[in-house]
Structure formats: structure tokens, C-alpha cells
Amino acid sequence: MSDKTVTLAHGAGGSQTNELIETVFKAHFSNPEFTADDAAVLPVEKGRLAFSTDGFIVSPWRFNGGNIGKLSICGTVNDLSCMGAKPLYMTCAFVIEEGFPMDNLEEIASAMEKTAKEVGVKIVAGDTKVAGKGQCDGVFITTTGIGQIMENAHTSGAFAKDGDAVIVSGDVGRHGCTILLARDDYGIESDVDSDCAPLWGTVESLYSVTNDIHVIRDATRGGVGTVLYEIAGQSNVGITLNASSIPVDPRVKGVCGMLGLEPLYLACEGRLVIVAPQEHADKIVETLRKGKYTQNATIIGHITSEHIGRVVMETEIGTQTILPAPKGELLPRIC
């Protein structure tokens, strides 16, 4: 442990900036393509590229099951993966608050390295800015990634068809629940951990079953419920869910029970919603269940030409009821 912290001088572009890059970032992100020049130079491949960017702010920066570094790699990797693209290269830009402990930055960079290595994506360029105390909260990270789309992959939120199965790759709402508890606003303790995970391997395994996959979306902010409403809107279809088949960790259920929250609207960071023809559904689930992050994969419903634009739940008493559409801020319902 050292007591060194990031100072404004680390962001001034001089020798201390170089020191920060050498000791923290290069030490972790080093690869032949990591550039010392103004831009990374990459070979051009044939076919189609997917290109995506995402900004990450999370408070607290470290949580049960990950940290902002891991999250920033997973987020962009998963966005690319959902397009059927193998993540190849990434850049990352840091905004660091003056006074942020160097050891913590090291921990974040180390998590990024580990996650990137697991996926096989290379970090090829980066940027560091230091903001004055109070101008940002700890550290903000923006990652951008390029991926090569597999030849036979054609997915979009607009491709869901009447009769398709709707599959979720694991239990819902864990990340949102973890962060809610980590902020400690509600005095609730639980060992629930974030589902934060890079899902390229998962997507690759899907395509080992069939190329005939209509939609792959990662559920992040807004949770699985929000993604389902987006798919219903984009594809101009209805979605029917079986309420009892939606996987929810008991700990998440407990927290949601206390605060009157709907798990389907809590954030995930390692969950895919997959829409594919019924005939492939069982095989997809079987394959997913062998995967590292997807052992609780299950079919939760189907696409229908009824109730267009809406998500409808089949309830425990045998009726159908609309899943309320997503709203803004999640606020506990108590009194």
C-alpha cells in the first residue's frame, strides 16, 4: 500500500503525466499495438465492423463483484458482442479526481487488464485528464471499441418475430441491487454480488448452436424490462412473459421486497436477452447453461403479434397483466 494520490500535475501533460501512463496504464495495457503516437494504427479487415462507445460513472467505484474498471471493459465488449462482433480493439479515456489514491487506480487498471485479456481484446490507446477536487466523483472512464462482425451474424432489436422464444442468460437485477446496497442509503446488508461479466464467449457459444438468432441485447441500465420494451417497440411486436419463470436471486427478491422494487427494472451488467426461433430455444438454453456466466439461462416468454408494443405477464393466478412500462428514477415504494 502506498499513500500516493493523483494530483493535478499528473494531468498537466509533463513528466508526471508520463510517469502515470508508464507506471499504471502501460504496465497493465501493454501490447504491440498500444500506441505512443497520437493514434493507434490498425490493420483493416474485410467484412463489417461494429463500433461502440460508452461512458462509465458508478458510485461507489468498487462494489461486490467488480469495479468501474471491469465494468468499463464489460460494457463496451458486451455492446459489440450483441452485434455478433468479436471485440478487437479498445481505447479508454480516464477523468480522475485530484486526490484519488494511486493504489485504487492501480486496482482499476488491473481489473481492466484481466477482463480485456479474458476476452482477447487489445487496449490500443488511452487518455488521462485530472479534474480538480469535487469536479468529478473519483474516476470516470469512457471506453470505445471496434469489433469484427461474424459473417453470418445478423441481429437487431428490430428482428423479433411472432412465435420466437425470449431467453434471458441468467438471473435478473443483480448489478442494480448490488450498487443500491453499496451506496448504503437504505441500511440493508446482503452479500449479493454484481453480475458484471464480459459476454463475448457467451455470444460465440450462441452462434455455435445456430446463426438464426434474431435479437441479442445486453440488459444494462433499466434492466431486462426496459430491453424487452425496446425490442417490442423496435420490432413492432408484443412480448408475453411467464412471471414464474423469470430467474431472480432470492437475495435480490428480499431487497426488492423491502423497497417495493421490480427486479426486471434493476440494472444488469452481464445478462443477455436473446430472441430466437422456438425450434432452437432449448438447444440455446442447454448450451448457455454450460457457460461460465450463464448457468441460470432460461426461456422466459415468447414474441406474439398480440398486444403490440407491450410486455404482458402471465401471473401466478393464471391471468395476464401488463408489465408497467419503464419509468425514470427508481424510487422505493414504502408507505
Partner: protein, 350 residues
């Protein structure tokens, strides 16, 4: 579904008698009934209407104005149940006040606002005490603790309400009530039993699980068929006839009855609770020399009639047009337990 649930379901779906109006008084019942799609089981002649039992919905608009005044003029930290944050006041909601720099913190329990007061000794902290008999004990415990700790930067803004006189105001608006289980857990069943014995008002105490709601509804329908006034406790695992005597004693010690304004129902005599004079130091209105603030509701909003079961949400001109869960005009559209919000979110409409 187990056998009993199926049996209860069959009683409900096969009812063929005269038209029935059953009012679920409690907002949490409204929410669960919609979540379960229970209305879809009802035969045409059974009408389930939503009553005034959502504290957010019946809280007078002036209360929000008072809270905004404390937040913006007195720079108090406002601690509140999350449900209240988006309720529109005359000019703005607490979310609007927050955008203007006010500090508004959602809490799970009023007790949590004591910790916030202790962490911010140079700030005044106010907890917004809304709720019925179920919730009022938590505010009373909090005030007693604050007094024990000698906190000088904590107070509560009371809008606590009690049900008995509201039931009186609602007599005749339904053939039977589904009484709010968690209110009865505190108050006991005497008031409901008395309504039945003396005024012939029928009702059952209902719980909140699918099984409990089906049972309560099936019981209500069966007993209405028989035609005699009735009272039944269909939630005995939680509700005892005498209620929670310690909680009743605590409320009497810390608070006293007062007249209270209910959105839609107007001022009902002795239907509210305010702090006793021994606890005046913790009364935000007294502590912060609050002027008399009178709220002005939007004239187009018919929340008041909705709350009394006099009209359906969809009968209101602004429902689903100017007034939606994202941009609510009336309180019934804000709260997830509000009838308008539930109708909007759970029914097909353009």
C-alpha cells in the same frame, strides 16, 4: 396455484348474482390486484373500486408546498419515503425543488433520518411523516429517539392520517370493503366490527399475497350473497383482534388527533395525527415558524372523485393525455399505488 386458491378463484369467476361493488381501501391492495391481473377474473357484475388508502394520493397538495418551502426557504435536508418525491405541489414537486438545489433524500425508515441529522449537525433535517396507522408508529419511535438523543436539528412535518373517520366518509360507496391488513395489524378489528354491528357495513380484512387476496375476495362474494352484514378477518396470521397494543399506546403518547385534509375528500374531523405539545420541539411547523401555506390543485384533475370511487380514472379529461406517470398532474398518477397510475400502466389504451 394450490387447491384452496383454485377453489377461491372458482367462487369468484362463477359468481352470477346481483351486481356488487367492492372497494379495496388500501393502495398496496390496488397495486397487488393490478400486478396479479385479479380484475380479469371478475365477472361483469362485480366491480372492484380503488379507495383512498394510498397516503401519497390523499396527502393534500399544500403539504408538498410546505415541504418545498422547508427545503428551499429554510434550506432543510428533507428526508422522505421515495413515493412522495414526484408528487406535484402547487408550483413544483420535491424533485423540482431538488433541481433548484434542495437536498431531498429518500429513506426506507424515518429512523434513518436520525442518522442523517447526526451526520449533519450544522443542518436542519425534516422527515415528511405521511401514512396511516401502520406507518405512524415509525414516526413516533423516531421522535422519541430524537428526544432521548437530545437532537436539536431534527423535526417532522406531519400529515399522518387515521382510517376510522375516513370509513365513515366512505359508508355507502361500496357493498363491502377490503380492509387494509397492515392498518388492522396495528389498530385491531374493533372499528370494523363496530361498523358492521351498528351500521351494517360489511367488510373483510385482507392480506397481500395472491392466496390471501383470492381468499378475501371469495369470502366477500360468498357472504354478500347471503345478504347479512358481515365482518371477517381473512388475514389472521398477521392481524389479531386487539391489534398491536404497544403501538397504539405509543401513538397516544406521542401524537394526538387533529382535523386533516384529504385530497379529494376535504377536511375530515379528527382524521389526522399531530405531535403532542410535549414534542413541539420536533414539530417542523412550529420549529421553523411556518406561515400558513394553502395549496391550489389543478382544476382539471379529478383525483378527488377517483379516490371516492365516484369516477374511473379514464373518466378524467387529462387522464393519459396531460397526465401520465412520467408527467403526472394529480397524485393518483404519481404513486405506483395510485388508481390512475395503476389504470394507466396496466390497461390497454392509446
Amino acid at each position: 396455484m394450490n387447491e384452496n386458491m383454485k377453489k377461491a378463484r372458482d367462487i369468484i369467476t362463477s359468481y352470477q348474482g346481483k351486481p356488487l361493488r367492492i372497494m379495496e381501501v388500501c393502495g398496496t391492495h390496488t397495486h397487488e390486484i393490478f400486478r396479479l391481473g385479479l380484475r380479469k377474473l371478475l365477472p361483469e357484475q362485480v366491480d372492484l373500486i380503488s379507495g383512498p388508502g394510498c397516503p401519497v394520493c390523499v396527502t393534500a397538495i399544500g403539504f408538498i408546498d410546505e415541504a418545498c418551502w422547508l427545503a428551499l426557504e429554510k434550506k432543510c435536508i428533507i428526508c422522505t419515503f421515495g413515493d412522495l418525491i414526484r408528487v406535484p405541489g402547487t408550483k413544483m414537486s420535491l424533485a423540482g425543488a431538488r433541481a433548484k438545489g434542495a437536498e431531498v433524500k429518500p429513506v426506507y425508515s424515518p429512523l434513518d433520518s436520525l442518522a442523517i441529522a447526526e451526520e449533519n449537525p450544522d443542518r436542519q433535517v425534516v422527515f415528511l411523516a405521511v401514512g396511516f396507522e401502520t406507518t405512524t408508529p415509525s414516526a413516533c419511535i423516531t421522535v422519541k429517539k430524537a428526544k432521548q438523543k437530545g437532537l436539536t436539528n431534527f423535526s417532522i412535518l406531519t400529515a399522518n392520517k387515521t382510517m376510522p373517520n375516513a370509513y365513515q366518509a366512505l359508508v355507502g360507496s361500496a357493498d363491502a370493503f377490503l380492509y387494509p391488513g397492515h392498518v388492522n395489524a396495528i389498530t385491531g378489528n374493533a372499528v370494523c366490527q363496530k361498523l358492521c354491528n351498528e351500521q351494517g357495513v360489511s367488510g373483510v380484512v385482507a392480506g397481500f399475497t395472491a392466496g390471501e387476496l383470492l381468499t378475501a375476495l371469495a369470502t366477500t362474494i360468498r357472504l354478500l350473497e347471503k345478504g347479512e352484514p358481515f365482518f371477517r378477518n381473512c388475514y389472521p396470521r398477521v392481524v389479531k383482534d386487539e391489534g398491536n397494543l404497544s403501538a397504539q399506546k405509543l401513538m397516544q403518547e406521542v401524537m394526538q388527533p387533529c382535523d386533516s385534509e384529504w385530497r379529494g375528500l376535504g377536511v375530515i374531523h379528527d382524521s389526522g395525527m399531530k405531535l403532542r405539545s410535549e414534542f413541539a420541539d420536533f414539530d417542523a411547523r412550529i420549529k421553523h415558524d411556518m406561515p400558513n401555506i394553502v395549496g391550489k390543485p389543478n382544476p382539471a384533475c379529478r383525483c378527488g372523485e377517483v379516490l371516492q370511487g365516484k369516477c374511473k380514472p379514464s373518466d378524467c379529461k387529462v387522464f393519459g393525455k396531460g397526465c401520465t406517470p412520467l408527467h403526472p398532474i394529480g397524485a393518483c398518477m404519481v404513486s405506483d399505488e395510485g388508481a390512475c397510475s395503476a389504470y394507466y400502466q396496466y390497461t390497454e389504451h392509446e
